[in-house]
């Protein structure tokens, strides 16, 4: 039986990979909070945090430590089980999405190749989508279980926003899938590696510029980032769905948000920016050690992700929040028609090229 031929090595390999990815996600999320505050400072002619450690690099630890030692408050009128489930769910879903992302070129040895990907399933990108749509339950459950009007409004906002922006996101994705012909993440990346200028010209961002923009905007909305941070709108909803949360449960929500950002940057980089492809060079001709090759390609992906994270932050400190009707109008009346148009044009061009 094929199913039973899973070896111990395989399990060990995956376990190590999972541990690394989770550790990485936490580390990146921590330092995204730091980058967020630093960039915010710079964009506003300030310095940002610079007291904890040199250049303030210990700031995330200080923040985390503070959250740990805060008093844990569970409102009496809340639904205890759901109240605890909310932040956990938010955290789990944001971590699970990272399983299908190829983090670097596979390490090819004579015994076989080790992919730097936890699961290279056939419907990779669909897994991301399905898990992200479960992610909205983190907000909904948390908001509802808090038994607070503001939290409830935030939960409803969050749910409707996520549902509305998943549609154009999916439509923009379909156009990409037309071009790759596969849902497998590794195939999508492979498709972008071979092309002019060391793969640079075959990045989907050039063939799908509109799709890229739509996808990016929707990713902002899915991560509840400004200008779409209506579920947590500080000045109207008092922090929205995590208003009643304190201590590390609040920390989980905030952390999950940054991990979401990290993972969606990774997804965008994989779908549109060539994943771990190194532009302008034909890396296959270098004949480097396989582990070194993987390391370089992994750093390349990280560079792309960092750039996207910077753009996320940059946008946040540039524009104010949308009004709710603007948000809905933009989603349903602008992005969905544009995404449909993009899809139809792509389909037509693909058919025309095939003939």
């Amino acid at each position: 039986m094929i199913l039973l031929s899973i070896s111990l090595w395989f399990i060990l390999e995956k376990a190590i990979l999972i541990a690394c990815i989770i550790g990485l996600s936490f580390f990146i999320a921590m330092y995204t909070t730091y980058a967020e505050r630093k960039v915010a400072g710079w964009l506003q002619d300030r310095h940002g945090p610079n007291r904890a450690g040199p250049f303030g690099i210990l700031q995330p630890l200080a923040d985390g430590g503070k959250l740990f030692f805060k008093e844990e408050i569970i409102p009496l009128a809340s639904n205890k089980v759901l109240f605890l489930l909310g932040p956990g769910l938010a955290m789990i879903t944001s971590l699970v999405t990272s399983t299908v992302i190829p983090w670097g070129a596979p390490i090819v040895t004579d015994k076989g190749s080790i992919p730097l990907q936890v699961a290279d399933v056939d419907m990779g990108i669909l897994i991301v989508f399905s898990v992200v749509s479960v992610g909205v339950y983190g907000i909904m459950i948390g908001g509802w279980a808090s038994n607070n009007k503001f939290s409830l409004i935030a939960a409803i906002r969050g749910a409707s926003q996520m549902v509305s922006y998943e549609l154009p996101m999916g439509l923009a994705l379909i156009a990409v899938l037309f071009m790759t012909g596969s849902l497998k993440m590794s195939v999508i990346v492979d498709n972008q590696i071979h092309g002019g200028w060391g793969g640079f010209l075959s990045w989907h961002v050039w063939s799908q510029p509109l799709g890229f923009i739509i996808f990016f905007v929707c990713a902002l909305a899915e991560c509840n980032r400004t200008p779409f941070d209506l579920p947590e709108a500080e000045n109207e909803l008092n922090f929205g769905y995590h208003q009643e949360y304190s201590s590390m449960k609040l920390g989980f929500y905030l952390f999950a948000e940054y991990i979401n950002m990290f993972v969606s940057s990774a997804v965008i980089a994989t779908l549109f920016l060539g994943g771990y492809d190194i532009p302008f060079v034909n890396e296959a001709s270098w004949k480097l050690e396989p582990w070194l090759m993987s390391l370089i390609s992994f750093s390349m992906l990280m560079a792309k992700i960092s750039f996207l994270l910077f753009v996320f932050i940059w946008i946040r400190w540039t524009i104010p929040r949308f009004r709710y009707d603007q948000l809905m109008n933009l989603g349903w009346k602008k992005l969905i028609p544009l995404a449909l148009l993009n899809m139809i044009i792509t389909a037509a061009v693909m058919l025309w090229l095939k003939k």
């Binding site: 960039v39 710079w42 964009l43 506003q44 002619d45 300030r46 310095h47 610079n50 923009i213 940059w314 946008i315 400190w317 540039t318 524009i319 109008n329 933009l330 602008k334 992005l335 544009l338």
Partner: protein, 179 residues
């Protein structure tokens, strides 16, 4: 119409391109990114300090003369002048043998300024006929309780000019010795 900069509000409905906000957002991002390279306005406080003007009015100092005798003669003019009624004092007569401590025959045994009441207007400094009180460049008093903000004579008196010259000059700041 003072500045001639009034602008008619444009109420045309947005075009499709405007209504997806993209171009305007990109413009805005251009503005913010240009700030990344600008000089920071921050003064890193405990290490760097803003330079004060010559007439800055900080915490009070009770002055001594060149021989280290207290100038104050407890005339109470400062307390009368004070609009915030922050100054309290008790007078006493100088005894023989105390000439090296107090310059005048009458001196203040108790002299207190409530820094929470004080508005740092400097009227006490102007009222004083003996050059005994002035407002220094020190500021930002901090304390754990309200009581600590009532500054006693010991806290107000300037260090002795002969016994502790350095501290005296530091407390004097950039105020010229007036006596």
């Amino acid at each position: 119409m003072l500045t001639q900069r009034a602008k008619q509000v444009d109420r045309k409905p947005m075009t499709f391109l405007e209504s997806i906000y993209l171009w305007n957002i990109v413009k805005g991002m251009g503005i913010t990114i240009s700030h990344l390279f600008k000089k920071k306005a921050t003064i890193q406080y405990p290490e760097q300090k803003r330079t004060f003007s010559k007439v800055f009015r900080g915490l009070h100092v009770l002055n001594r003369d060149a021989e280290g005798r207290e100038n104050c003669t407890a005339c109470g003019l400062c307390a009368v002048a004070c609009p915030a009624e922050a100054i309290t004092m008790e007078a006493a007569e100088r005894l023989p043998g105390e000439e090296h401590l107090y310059r005048e025959e009458k001196y203040a045994v108790k002299y207190e300024i409530n820094m929470l009441r004080c508005i740092f207007c400097g009227l006490c400094e102007e009222a004083c006929p003996k050059d005994a009180i002035y407002l220094s460049q020190t500021f930002a008093p901090a304390n754990y309780g309200r009581k600590g903000f009532i500054y006693k004579k010991e806290e107000l008196l300037i260090p002795h000019p002969l016994k502790d010259k350095e501290a005296y000059e530091k407390a004097l700041g950039n105020k010229a010795v007036k006596n």
